[in-house]
Symmetry: C2
Subunit: 358 residues, 2 copies
C-alpha cells in the first residue's frame, strides 16, 4: 500500500467549497487504484478560527504540519480580518518555514477553455512561471515613522540574497533545460528603475546561465513582460520571477488562460526536507463563498500537481485527462465561465469521468 | 502671439525617429493657427552623449531645462549603457527634480486600432492610469553587502510618504470626481503581501476618499488588477497606483489598446512650478532604431497632451482627430500593427490630415 499523509486546510470562503471537490476527486482516484491510501488530517484554520482564538492557526500549527507528505490548501482571507493579518498568520509562514521557495504556476490553456486573447488557442498558451516564494519584496522588513504628523512615512525593504536567488534560478534553469526546444528562459527584472536589488538579480541570472549554457536567456523588464503576456504569450517556455513580480505575472497568466477559477499553484520545497503545499492561485472570494458556484477547476488541478509531486504520475494523468474532458464537453460550466453548473456538479462530473477512464 | 518654449530631447534609438514626426505635427498645427509660436531648443542628450562625455545630460542640464514651458522627450537607452545608468542620469532626475509627481497615462483604444482582447472595442477601453512618479519603489535607497561571499545580498527600500501619497491621490480623486458617471476610482495595492508600505497607502486612499465622498473607491491588489485589465477592462475610469505598480499597469494598458507604439504619457508637475514632460511609454527599441519603421503614434499623441497642458485645447483636438482619422482609414499602417508604412509616411499623413481639418 502506498500511503500518504495529507493536511487539508480548506481555509476561508470558497476555499472550503473547492477543496471539498478536490478531495472527492482524490478519493475517487484512490478507490479506483486500490493500492493507494490517503491519510487526511483536516485543520479548521483560517479567519473564523482567528476570530475565535486570535490566531490564524494553532500555536503548534507548523509543528503539526511538518511531517505530512503534502498540504492541500483552499484559500485564506475574510472581510473584517485585515489581509496582512490573515496571510502573515498562515499562508506566508508555511511558505517560509517549510522553505517552499519555489512557487510553480502553469500558464496553460486547457482544452475547452476560451482565452480572452483574440485568436489564441492551446498551442500558443503553454508555459510555466517559477516564482521565488520566500524572500524579495515580501520581506516584512520595514515600518512607519512620524505617524500622525506631516512627515508620516513608511518604508519597506526588499531583500534579495545569493542563497535565495541562486536556488530559484537553478530550479528554473534546470526545468528550462529539460523541456522545450529551443530551451528558453525569461527572467523578469526591473533593473532600469529599481537600481540595487534588480541588477543583483540580473547578475545572478547571467551567472546561473553559465551552468546551463544551452538555455537561451532573455532578461525582460516586468512592465514589458506583462505586456508580452498579452501580445506574444507564445514566446514563453519558462519564466522566472521574484516574489512580487511572479505574483503579478501569475494572476495575469491566469487571466489569459481563462481566469482565476482555473489557475493552480504548487509551493514546493525541492529538497523534500519539508512538505510542499498545493493551492489555487485564487483567493477566498467572500462575495461568492458558500453559494456553491465557485469553479473547483483550480483546486482539482492542484490535486493533480500534488499527485505528481508524490510520484503518482499515472493518477495525475488520469485526473488531468478527466478534467480536460469535462471542460471540453462543456456540459458542466461554472458561472465564472458563463454557465450554471454548481461547484459540486462540476466536481462530480470529474469524478464520473475518472471512473470511466480508470 | 502665444509663444511657448519647448525643450526637445529626442534621446536614443527610435526616440529620435518619432520625435521628428511629433515636431512636424506641431509645426503644421502652428502654421495653420498663425497666432502661436513654438520656440524649440534641441538637446542631444542620451547614451551617445554619455559615451562621449560620461554624462547622460550636460552638467547644468536641469538648469537649462527649468524655465521652458514643456519638455518633449523621445526615449533613452542603448545597448552597452546599463539601464540604471541611462535612466538615473536623465529620465528619472527630470521627473524628480521638476516634481513631476503625476505620470498620466491614458489607456484608450483609438478608432481604427484593434485590441488583442477578443470582442473589445473602443467603448470598453477608455480609462486613465495615474502613476505616482517620484517616490515609492524607485527610491534608489539601498545597497549590497558581502559581495563575493556566500552571504552576498542586496536590499532596496520602497519609501512612501504622506506628502508623496496624498498629492497623487488628490490628483487622481479630483480627476475621478470630474469625469465619469458613476465617479469611480481604483487604487492598486498589495497590502496582503507587502505589509508596511502598502497598508500605509491604503490608509491614505481611505483618508483622501473622505474629501471626495462621491467617488466610489475600490482598493484592488495589483495581481488581481493586472488580471482585470484583461478580463474586465470596461470597469475602470481612473486607476491610481504607486510608481512600480503604475509602471507595470501602463505597459499592460498599452498592450490591451494596441501596443507600445501607441501609448503616450505625461509627467506632470501640477503646481506648474517646473516644466512638465511628455514622452511615449515605449523605450528606445534599439533593434528597430534608425530603420524608419517605428510607430510615431505615441509621440504624436504626446504632442497632443502637451498642447492640452499648455492650454491649447483647440489645437490638441485637431491633432487627435487627425491622428484618429489616419488610423481609422488604415492607408498608413506601421509594421508594429501589421502594415508597411514608414515612420515618416505616417507622420506626413497626419500632417496632411491636419491641413484638411484646419
Ligand atoms: C525606463 C524606465 C525607468 C521607466 C520607468 O519604469 O519609469 C519606463 O519603463 C517608463 O514607464 O517610463
Ligand atoms: C494572498 C497573497 C499574500 C498571495 C501572494 O501574493 O503571494 C496570493 O496573491 C498568491 O498569489 O498566492
Amino acid at each position: 500500500m502506498r500511503s500518504y499523509s495529507i493536511a487539508l486546510i480548506p481555509g476561508d470562503g470558497i476555499g472550503i467549497d473547492v477543496i471539498k471537490e478536490g478531495k472527492k476527486v482524490l478519493d475517487t482516484l484512490c478507490s479506483l487504484d486500490g493500492g493507494i491510501k490517503m491519510d487526511y488530517r483536516t485543520f479548521d484554520w483560517g479567519c473564523e478560527y482567528y476570530l475565535k482564538t486570535g490566531r490564524m492557526m494553532s500555536e503548534t500549527g507548523l509543528d503539526e504540519l511538518k511531517d505530512v507528505d503534502s498540504i492541500y490548501l483552499g484559500a485564506v482571507g475574510y472581510p473584517g480580518v485585515p489581509d496582512h493579518v490573515s496571510l502573515w498568520g498562515l499562508l506566508l509562514p508555511i511558505r517560509r518555514k517549510f522553505e517552499q521557495y519555489i512557487n510553480l504556476r502553469p500558464v496553460k490553456l486547457l482544452r475547452g477553455i476560451q482565452s480572452p486573447l483574440a485568436g489564441r488557442t492551446a498551442e500558443h498558451l503553454d508555459f510555466t512561471v517559477i516564482r521565488e516564494n520566500n524572500e524579495g519584496e515580501y520581506s516584512s522588513i520595514g515600518g512607519r515613522m512620524y505617524e500622525g504628523t506631516e512627515m508620516d512615512l513608511a518604508i519597506q525593504s526588499a531583500v534579495f540574497t545569493k542563497h535565495g536567488v541562486e536556488r530559484v534560478l537553478r530550479y528554473a534553469y534546470s526545468m528550462a533545460n529539460k523541456i522545450g526546444k529551443p530551451k528558453r528562459l525569461t527572467a523578469a527584472t526591473k533593473s532600469n528603475g529599481i537600481n540595487h536589488t534588480m541588477p543583483f538579480w540580473d547578475e545572478y541570472v547571467r551567472k546561473i546561465n553559465l551552468e546551463y549554457p544551452e538555455v537561451e536567456t532573455e532578461i525582460t523588464h516586468i512592465d514589458a513582460l506583462a505586456a508580452f503576456f498579452v501580445t506574444k504569450p507564445d514566446v514563453f517556455d519558462v519564466v522566472v520571477a521574484s516574489n512580487l513580480f511572479g505574483d503579478i505575472l501569475t494572476d495575469l497568466g491566469a487571466a489569459i488562460v481563462g481566469g482565476m477559477g482555473i489557475a493552480p499553484s504548487a509551493n514546493i520545497n525541492p529538497d523534500r526536507k519539508f512538505p510542499s503545499m498545493f493551492e489555487p492561485v485564487h483567493g477566498s472570494a467572500p462575495d461568492i463563498a458558500g453559494k456553491g458556484i465557485a469553479n473547483p477547476t483550480a483546486a482539482i488541478w492542484c490535486a493533480g500537481m500534488m499527485l505528481e509531486h508524490l510520484g503518482e504520475h499515472a493518477l495525475a494523468n488520469i485526473l488531468m485527462e478527466a478534467l480536460q474532458q469535462v471542460l471540453e464537453e462543456g456540459r458542466m460550466v461554472t458561472p465564472d465561465l458563463g454557465g450554471t453548473a454548481t461547484t459540486v456538479q462540476f466536481g462530480e462530473e470529474v469524478c464520473g469521468k475518472i471512473k470511466r477512464l480508470g
